[in-house]
Amino acid sequence: MEHFKITETELWEYISQTADDNTILKVEKWIDSPDFDKALFTKITAIHKHTSEKDPSVEEAKKRFFTTVKPKTVVWKEMLKYAAIFVILISGVYFFNTLSSNTNQIVVQTIFGEQKSIELSDGSKVWLNASSNLSYNSEDPRTLYLEGEAFFEVAKDTLHPFTVTTADHITVKALGTSFNVKSYKESAITETKLLTGKVAVTSETQFEESVILIPNEKVTFYKKTKEVFKSNMDPNETNIAWKAGKIQFKNKTFREIAIDLKAQFGIPIRFKNEKIAASKFTGTFDNTTPINEIFEILKISKDFTYELNTKKNEWIIQ
């Protein structure tokens, strides 16, 4: 008599309807044979049923939600606001000016390869790295929003906390201190490094406890898993390399490095090979080094090919 053995993975293929004809035939023979294990079959079917997940469009639901919810709470206030502004316009330009300067939103932006330094009206200094965006209200220069990377030297003012909030809702709160925040949108992490003073890293939404840093410590937030790690900086990290015109990475995956290189050179990098994207490199370059020279040097330790796709304007690595 013929004997049939079926593995769970084959059964799963069959039940999830991804099996090929051979496997389907095999499983169906097994079902008709005395070796058929009904309990196993029911079990796998139940797993298949319970793990079903619909994937509705969150964006669509969000849009619908905001259009339903906003008019009720905001519109009449908006109208009043315009009415108020209208009255002010009539009663004097002077007051209108003070009002509009009160609500002035300031945005400082850098394109790829560009760096800027800014002095805020409270005396704090900011160095903005390439492909970054810093915004704040002129009335409140100690509440900043950052996308990208920047280094901060905060003027001491114990009454007014200095905060930097990133797109992933991480807030770094400081008194008098200097620190670096790196939070590029494409990157898997948000990283805060503290050089002097003391900062607290908190988040309204991502994690509950705030992390306090002392000098030469850094905290890394992993966006995907929402994990937070505190660690000591390496001695060579204590100089913020990009401020000195260097591109530096220590034991970083090529995928992370690619984000820095894109910020610096403006051309995205696409990996056709997972292995290369995940391999780690250490190195320091002048930010004036051409990108193909950087690739050439990285190639010495791990072999890969690079090619500029001029049509799509991206580097292909494999």
Partner: protein, 188 residues
């Protein structure tokens, strides 16, 4: 002088509105975040009980709208927001289910006798249990399992997509299945 005072009042009122406006945009950002985090699982919860897409969407929407309206009055901690959402939706599902039952009363007399509350609680337990099991799996195993389960890819297609052998795909699938068998013991 009176004009000056009048202006002062208007100015501070406009400022007040402006502040109100910023707090509203913070609220919006918070809700956008809540949608990203909870919409999918809440929708799935409704869908597993009601088995219809449109009513499930509707109830999930109403749940978020109720949270929006009560947002200022509830404890803002992550846990209490989450339990507000779940409890609200659960009650809405029960209501919807009862209405549906009344409609179908004539065709299904027995359905009225089952306790919908226990059934619904069990469904939520199951959703949470499955989320827990996913977190115990390696990210790679979860990814591969979901490609098979949700995207309906064959082992061969997964192996090509991930650049690994079919054997490795099977290994991940069997790991995932073993975890579900163990973790869902009471539900299978």
């Amino acid at each position: 002088m009176s004009v000056f005072l009048y202006n002062l009042v208007i100015c501070s009122y406009a400022n007040y509105l402006n502040k109100k406006h910023t707090s509203n945009s913070i609220k919006e950002a918070k809700f956008s975040n809540l949608f990203d985090r909870h919409y999918n699982r809440l929708y799935n919860y409704a869908f597993k009980v009601l088995k219809e897409s449109d009513p499930s969407k509707e109830l999930t929407q109403e749940t978020f709208i109720k949270l929006w309206e009560n947002f200022e009055h509830i404890n803002q901690s992550e846990r209490s927001i989450e339990s507000f959402l779940i409890t609200t939706l659960k009650n809405k599902i029960i209501d919807a289910y009862r209405k549906k039952q009344t409609r179908e009363k004539h065709t299904n007399v027995y359905a009225l006798n089952t306790s919908i509350e226990t059934e619904i609680d069990k469904q939520w337990e199951l959703i949470e249990r499955i989320e827990d099991i996913y977190t115990t799996l390696e990210q790679k195993t979860t990814d591969i399992f979901k490609l098979s389960r949700d995207k309906g890819l064959t082992y061969k297609e997964i192996s090509q997509k991930k650049g690994i052998s079919i054997k490795t795909v099977e290994l991940h699938i069997s790991k995932a299945l073993a975890a579900f068998e163990k973790g869902l013991k009471d539900y299978l």
